[in-house]
């Protein structure tokens, strides 16, 4: 391999035997480079002469401790990272489960679960029983509705019956729809309240609310 003078410094800085050998071969044919090489070798010899060694009882144990400590801390760091990853995974799983449950709860608010339907239907049955009882008590007053107030109550009850029937028809095709069930319960409550108002009114007198 042939080099030029500009590459000499690079070879000397490389410092490995093959680079130094190549530099020496080039210097044999170039006086300026021979001078540079001689200066480099002189500095190297001087530096080698300055090298000193001494025995220390403490140095090696310290290095050993440091190496062991470093190994320990590396292991701790690995554990820490693993724990963090585990925690992150746990948090992610918790968030995912919570989000999923929230989503399910939102769904259940719109479409009732079968167990909730049983409870709703029990409540509806209780309402119907109460309404039937109240209707029996109020029927005499309503049949002989003579005051404008009684006529008005009668009209309201008819309107409620129509609305309840409409809602019931919709429920027959959409049994677990929460809105329909709530609406039906609201109307049952309204009908009960109206029947109670009818019973409270003295049919011989007009209300003075």
């Amino acid at each position: 391999m042939t080099i030029n003078c500009n590459q000499l410094d690079d070879l000397l800085l490389e410092g490995d035997p093959s680079s130094l050998d190549l530099a020496a071969r080039h210097a044999q044919s170039c006086a300026a480079c021979m001078e540079t090489l001689a200066g480099w070798n002189e500095i190297s010899d001087t530096a080698r002469g300055l090298h000193a060694t001494w025995n220390s009882d403490l140095l090696w144990p310290r290095i050993e401790r440091a190496i062991k400590g470093e190994r320990r801390s590396t292991r701790t760091r690995v554990w820490q990272i693993a724990a963090a990853l585990l925690l992150l995974a746990a948090l992610g799983a918790t968030a995912w489960i919570a989000q999923r449950r929230m989503h399910a709860a939102e769904f259940d608010e719109a479409i009732l679960k079968a167990s909730a339907i049983d409870e709703v239907e029990q409540a509806e049955k209780a309402h119907i029983a109460a309404i039937n009882h109240l209707e029996t008590l109020a029927s005499a007053k309503l049949d002989q509705a003579s005051t404008p107030l009684m006529v008005s109550y009668k009209e309201k009850l008819l309107m409620l019956d129509d609305a309840i029937a409409e809602c019931q028809t919709a429920i027959d095709k959409n049994r677990q729809n929460a809105y329909l069930r709530t609406q039906l319960l609201t109307m049952y409550s309204e009908k009960q309240r109206t029947l109670r108002d009818v019973l409270r009114e003295d049919s011989n007198h007009v209300s003075t609310r």
Partner: protein, 479 residues
């Protein structure tokens, strides 16, 4: 490792368990159309509808479809018509579900974003409707669901049958119709017309308003313009109307205050109260108490079978009652009272007083004009009167005292009861007093022209005015 796998699978099963128990099918639908004019029509059922204004010219439809059965959930469709100059129609369609014996359930929530200036029609059944920020005419009709309309401009028509209706900040004429649900309207700048049947109506801060309700309370406050209310079987409360008020209620309490214009109130079978009416007041109340104060103009009050009590009336006042007491104080004008079977008490009248009573006593104090009283079977007590006094009584005593002002004629007539008269010192009268079975006594000097046990004629002072006192079976005392 095997143990870990088992734990992991068990955990997964635990998490997924509810999903296996009951199916929760859910999918979303989205569609965007560029608005090209016309009306946006939404025809929906079984779920909520929400309409919001968008910043651009797009109509964006989002639907959340839920079903307890995936097959049905997939079969539910939300159709959005192609945009044209006549508008866009959005419709929700459900498959027929006869084969499932009603054990399948579903709902669809619809969110629509649209240009604010597009006219809108929304029809829904079994779900709430929430519309806000619409700046064109809209028609919102719901059956069995609530309606909320906010921040709207343009003519608005809102209807529901079994659900509440809320209107907030509507800048156009607004018509609201409900059947069995409450109506609440706040800050309506246009004309507001509300019709309801069996629910309460609550209105605040509106312009000219008409409310027709039955079997539900009405509460109206802060109206710029006139207010007309028809209601029955519940209470009506009105406050702060800058124009006139026409109110017709039946079988409910009426409470009216701070009306700048005139007020006409009709009520039956319920008490009526008023405070601070700017101009004339007319109250027709059957079988209900009437009570109130402060009117800028006169008042005409008709009642029956209950008490009427008014105070601080700024003009001529006419009160007609039957079977109820009448109390009128601080009346700045003439006062006419026609009643039966009730006590009449008046005080501080800046005008004349005319009372026509039967079977009820009359007490009048501090009247600056003449007084005419007709009654029977009850006493008449008059005090501090500044004008002519005429009393026609039967079977009831008459007492007149503290007459003031210039000389005025006194004419007191009764039967089967006494007459007592305090004559003012500085006035002169031509006296003519007679009784059938009683005595005539006088504590002031009278120049007699004739005198017997039952009759007296003479002159007090200069005799400038006439004094005629007549009774049968009762004494006459002149002091």
């Amino acid at each position: 490792m095997f143990r870990l796998d088992k734990i992991f699978i068990a955990a997964l099963l635990l998490i997924a368990a509810p999903a296996f128990c009951e199916e929760r099918f859910e999918r979303t639908f989205s569609r965007t159309q560029t608005y090209q004019g016309g009306r946006i029509s939404i025809d929906h059922s079984m779920g909520a509808v929400s309409v919001r204004p968008g910043s651009g010219n797009n109509v964006i439809v989002h639907a959340l479809i839920r079903s307890s059965d995936a097959e049905i959930g997939k079969a539910i469709t939300v159709s959005v018509s192609t945009a044209s100059a006549s508008g866009i129609t959005i419709r929700t369609e459900y498959p027929e579900m006869h084969l499932h014996f009603g054990n399948i359930s579903y709902s669809v929530d619809l969110d629509v974003t649209m240009p604010a200036n597009a006219p809108l029609t929304v029809h829904d059944r079994f779900g709430s409707i929430d519309v806000s920020g619409i700046h064109a005419a809209s028609e919102i009709v719901n059956a069995q669901g609530s309606v909320a309309l906010r921040d709207a401009r343009g003519t608005q028509r809102v209807e529901s049958s079994f659900g509440s209706i809320t209107i907030e900040n509507s800048a156009g004429d607004t018509t609201v119709q409900n059947a069995n649900g409450s109506v609440r309207a706040v800050n309506v700048d246009g004309t507001l017309v509300i019709t309801n049947r069996f629910g309460s109506v609550n209105v605040n801060d509106t312009h000219n308003v008409t409310i027709r309700n039955a079997n539900g309370s009405v509460e109206l406050r802060d109206v710029a313009g006139n207010a007309t209310i028809v209601d029955s079987f519940d209470s009506v409360t009105v406050a702060n109307v800058s124009g006139d008020l026409d109110l017709n209620n039946q079988n409910g309490r009426v409470d009216v205050r701070d009306i700048k214009g005139r007020a006409a109130i009709k009520n039956t079978f319920g008490p009526t109260a008023f405070v601070n009416i700017g101009r004339d007041l007319t109250v027709t109340a059957n079988n209900g108490k009437v009570e109130g104060s402060h009117t800028g103009g006169g008042a005409t009050i008709t009642g029956s079978f209950d008490e009427i009590s008014v105070h601080d009336i700024g003009g001529s006042t006419r009160i007609k009652n039957a079977n109820g007491n009448v109390t009128a104080t601080d009346i700045r004008g003439n006062l006419e009272i026609d009643t039966r079977f009730g006590l009449t008490r008046v005080e501080l009248i800046k005008g004349s007083l005319d009372v026509d009573n039967a079977n009820g006593g009359v007490t009048a104090t501090d009247v600056s004009g003449g007084v005419r009283v007709h009654t029977s079977f009850a006493p008449v007590l008059l005090k501090t009167i500044a004008g002519r006094v005429t009393v026609e009584n039967a079977n009831g005593s008459i007492s007149v005292s503290d007459l003031r002002g210039a000389c005025a004629d006194i004419n007191l007539r009764t039967s089967f009861a006494s007459i007592k008269l305090d004559v003012p010192h500085n006035n002169g009268y031509q006296v003519d007093a007679r009784t059938s079975f009683g005595s005539i006594t006088t504590a002031i000097p009278i120049t007699m022209t004739s005198k017997s046990d039952n009759a007296l004629s003479g002159t007090i002072g200069n005799g400038a005015c006439h004094m005629q006192l007549e009774t049968a079976n009762g004494g006459i005392e002149i002091h």
